[in-house]
């Protein structure tokens, strides 16, 4: 825990120091990041808007990780899910309220689950490495989504690559207390559902037989085999579930705010989900807080374009990657003591 925080702090400090290379004052940049993330109710609303998909993607990576798999395909899964939700809303515009969002969500989860299942099946049955397969599936999802958006259900009122709007019954906003508390921001009740889902994942992993089997497969596949747990079945399920978790992103994007699928709407949520899971050490409850931190960094960096002349919003990628490196370097502490020991010897 301490080391995770230290790694986080180290990554953040190194990233901020880099800004002095561009002639900026790192403390000034840190101030901008903080103000932009938490400065007002509006800013906080946006931070929480980014937090929502990051919780889902963090959960997705964490769940797969517990079964010993690396789900780097969150991006493709959430793309397919959001597209599916938008497509349902466009093709069936007259479905009434409580049923409509449920229907769209079910479709989204099924599609994203399928996208994860493909990778899980290929890994379990054909032995293909899930990392490369999910990356390829990300590219395929992006291609399919671009085609479907531009050719099948384009938005007739816009030149942007986005789908038409879903029917009125699909929006949560009239019943959405979270959205009402943060007026003019896209944050929605999906945030509450994200926290609820995180608790569900925790229960699934630690309080159910399936969760136990999943963790055994991840920790020691040989032991799992001897205990009669089917490694293949568990891994296929784990990837399917991980896909579905990433698919929840559709809820906040389509039903919670935009009401459509926009090409490129995701700020690499699937990849930042890896950082989130890593920070949380794959604990579903920890994912909530890690997602909030990463969401704050993302929102914070978005104002760098306006507030500085040399640093752009892409700077958040530098911060995020250095934080991943800082947290992932568990050996850092061992390494430090080892080199110290060497010095003493010589």
């Amino acid at each position: 825990m301490k080391r995770t925080f230290a790694g986080f702090a180290l990554g953040l400090v190194i990233a901020l120091s880099l800004t002095s290379l561009a002639g900026e004052n790192p403390f000034h940049i840190a101030g901008i990041l903080y103000n932009s993330a938490f400065g007002s109710r509006y800013d906080l609303g946006l931070t929480l808007f980014y937090t929502t998909p990051l919780i889902f993607c963090g959960l997705s990576v964490a769940l797969a990780f517990h079964s010993g798999l690396f789900n780097i395909g969150g991006e493709g899964q959430l793309t397919m899910a959001t597209l599916t939700a938008a497509a349902i809303g466009v093709f069936l515009p007259n479905v009434p309220f409580p049923l409509a969002p449920l229907l769209a969500l079910a479709g989204a989860l099924a599609m994203a689950g399928f996208w994860g299942f493909v990778a899980g099946w290929l890994r379990a049955v054909r032995g293909s490495h899930e990392v490369i397969v999910t990356i390829m599936l990300n590219f395929i999802a992006a291609g399919l989504a671009s085609w479907f958006t531009l050719r099948v259900i384009p938005n007739p009122n816009s030149q942007n690559p986005e789908t038409a709007l879903v029917g009125a019954g699909y929006f949560l906003k009239d019943y959405d207390l979270v959205a009402k508390f943060f007026p003019d921001t896209p944050v929605s009740a999906a945030l509450v559902i994200a926290i609820f889902v995180a608790i569900c994942v925790w229960v699934l992993l630690w309080k159910t037989t399936f969760g136990y089997e999943l963790r055994v497969v991840g920790a020691n596949p040989d032991a799992a085999n001897r205990a009669g747990i089917s490694e293949k079945k568990i891994r296929i399920w784990a990837m399917g579930l991980a896909g579905a978790l990433a698919g929840f992103v559709a809820l906040g994007e389509v039903m919670g705010s935009a009401g459509q699928f926009k090409v490129g709407f995701s700020a690499d949520y699937g990849f930042i989900g890896i950082a989130v899971a890593l920070l949380a050490q794959n604990n579903p409850i920890g994912v909530i807080f890690a997602a909030f931190l990463m969401g704050a960094l993302h929102k914070g960096a978005s104002d760098l374009d306006l507030e500085t002349t040399t640093i752009t919003r892409d700077f958040s990628k530098i911060i995020q990657s250095l934080i991943i490196l800082g947290v992932a370097s568990h050996g850092l502490w061992v390494w430090k003591t080892r080199t110290k020991g060497k010095k003493r010897q010589s």
Binding site: L122, I135, I140, R151, I324, G331, L332
Partner: protein, 292 residues
């Protein structure tokens, strides 16, 4: 008939060009993975090479200078990766992902400082670019790697580092050093692949220009069973698919125009089918991904 032959030959030639960056990268991947270090950072290495080569070639008006600096920069970022995964024992896939995200973030940071642009570098004049040299170098490289790999002592060390690291260390060779060397070389080679992208296939660096070629190079490596010549064949196959993809854009098959996106995802679909082992099973180096 001769029209068809010409079309076929020009497709092969285009495939050869498209395969060039992937050949370099897959040889880089080969170095790293055969020594036991998983390398999904190839994408980031390539992006680094593409960027540095474009910047240096732009300022120096020499593609060769760009190439040399890309090699140096690739070695550096390879060393960074090696430091994290070998010395700090960080997870190889997590670190690889972080390196990939880092390069995506660092390039706009640098282009903003250098050119006040949000990602791309200025174009390189035609006479300052390569016309065919990288493709030749790629083939020479594969021959060199294959020879070194199977015919020399140090090549054997690298194989042992990935298969039986204990045997290598009991023979008195440091597995750590072998892996350091392999990962640094991996960075240099993949960066050369990136350089051939920005100074040979294109005329500048643009954001995300690798478009997953680093991952496809890795897939080609797995497809090619972690061996130099089969990996080369796999790269050529992907290269031709890529060239075919460009040719097929806007072409109607049976009166129906195939959507351009369907053709663009073709190489990725082929990669998955290849990875699924439908063209034969491939076995990874035994100690791949195992931390010392």
């Amino acid at each position: 008939m001769s029209d068809l032959l010409i079309a076929f030959l020009s497709l092969l030639l285009a495939g050869l060009r498209m395969a060039t960056p992937m050949i370099f990268a897959s040889m880089g991947g080969l170095m790293s993975e055969r020594s036991g270090v998983v390398n999904i950072a190839l994408e980031g290495f390539m992006l680094t090479g593409a960027f540095i080569a474009a910047v240096v070639a732009y300022y120096s008006h020499s593609a060769w200078a760009g190439w040399a600096m890309a090699l140096a920069a690739g070695s550096l970022i390879g060393a960074l990766y090696a430091f994290f995964v070998i010395e700090l024992k960080a997870d190889q896939i997590v670190t690889g992902t972080a390196i990939n995200i880092l390069t995506v973030g660092v390039m706009p940071f640098l282009t903003k400082i250098l050119f006040n642009s949000t990602g791309s570098t200025p174009g390189i004049a035609l006479e300052d670019r390569f016309s065919f040299e990288p493709t030749v170098m790629a083939f020479v490289l594969v021959a060199g790697v294959a020879y070194w790999f199977y015919e020399t002592h140090s090549g054997l060390w690298l194989q042992f580092a990935g298969e039986h690291p204990e045997a290598l260390s009991s023979a008195g060779v440091s597995v750590r050093k072998v892996r350091w060397f392999s990962v640094i070389t991996s960075g240099a080679l993949a960066a050369m692949g990136g350089a051939s992208l920005s100074t040979f296939l294109a005329s500048s660096y643009s954001p995300m220009m690798t478009g997953g070629r680093g991952f496809m190079a890795l897939a080609a490596l797995i497809f090619g069973r972690w061996k130099p010549l089969p990996a080369l064949a796999a790269c050529l196959f992907f290269g031709v698919t890529d060239a075919l993809q460009i040719r097929l854009q806007g072409v109607a098959i049976g009166g129906v125009e195939v959507p351009v996106q369907f053709i663009q995802i073709l190489p990725y679909v082929v990669t998955i089918i290849a990875l699924a082992g439908f063209f034969g099973k491939s076995e990874a180096p035994k100690a791949l991904g195992k931390v010392l």
